[in-house]
Subunit: 185 residues, 2 copies
């Protein structure tokens, strides 16, 4: 999708592409070095003023060919690790105030990911790639919004869990507790 440095790739994977894939610097930099060794990308060093130098990588013809080869494999199901959902599965074991806190944090995460997707609407995309990029962005929006709405409308299922079981509600949250949404009943 155009030339980029390792740092820029990381930022993309944290922002508008966070619903697609993730990678750390320790994965990205060695990968770029390997690709360059194999002649699949070229590297152009750019000096910048008031900023560290950067290395901008670009696909070679062989690189593009190899990419296409990789892409012909029919993809299996997405691989997901949701610490959030694992936690929700055991919501009944935890203090309701903590669950409320987790839910608020999650809604904040979803809101900021959606905001980043909206922002990237206006960012330029190379010719011929507009509709592919639009499809992927739209997919992210649809899924993130579904998650957001579902959580908003069903949070009572996990925040109410211990209300039934216990008589007293303890304020013994050793973490920083910011309720903000426990009341509704």
């Amino acid at each position: 999708m155009g030339d980029a440095s390792g740092y820029e790739i990381k930022k993309l994977l944290e922002g508008p592409f966070s619903h697609i894939h993730e990678a750390s610097f320790g994965a990205i930099y060695p990968a770029l070095a390997r690709l360059q060794e194999d002649g699949l990308v070229t590297c152009e060093e750019r000096s910048q003023e008031k900023r560290p130098d950067k290395k901008v990588y670009a696909l070679t013809q062989r690189g593009r060919f190899d990419l296409i080869q990789e892409l012909t494999v029919i993809p299996g199901p997405d691989r997901i690790r949701s610490d959030f959902l694992v936690l929700m599965l055991y919501a009944h074991l935890l203090p309701p105030a903590h669950i409320a806190n987790v839910i608020e944090t999650r809604l904040g995460i979803l809101t900021s990911l959606l905001a980043e997707l909206e922002n990237s609407d206006t960012s330029p995309v190379p010719a011929g790639e507009e509709s592919s990029a639009e499809f992927v962005r739209g997919y992210g929006k649809a899924v993130l919004q579904a998650a957001q709405h579902y959580i908003e409308e069903n949070r009572h299922l996990v925040e109410g869990a211990a209300l039934v079981a216990g008589g007293a509600r303890s304020e013994t949250d050793e973490k920083k507790e910011r309720p903000a949404g426990v009341a509704a009943e």
Copy 2:
């Protein structure tokens, strides 16, 4: 969520929990062995007729305590690797027939995952965990359905070239991959 063997845990992560987390046998069996060594689970060997023996693991009190400790960490964003979305990002580089095939396969995967979630509605859940389990199942349904609907209504964005090329959309496409790859435009 009750006692289980390694094999059963794997089946859960392939079926009703596939939208939460994944793990292979090579991760599960060593993990169970470690947990047992640390006294966090107990293991009961059960002989079965006409089936291999199985080892049924159960959380100990210390195991449950440790679990709760782990769960008090506020979860970050979900970690996702979607080969499907990566491919869609480069849809414009691939033959439209191949994209159509990939889309059909994906819709099939989503349908079967949803079916498994519906099935698990009727499976028994230990007392006190009903609403947590329901929340997580409902989340999965909401998100998978959103993906399904989005793909159905926006597949033209990535299959676009096929529309230009003319009507003949072959239903004879198998789930098998055709190594076409280089096929010209």
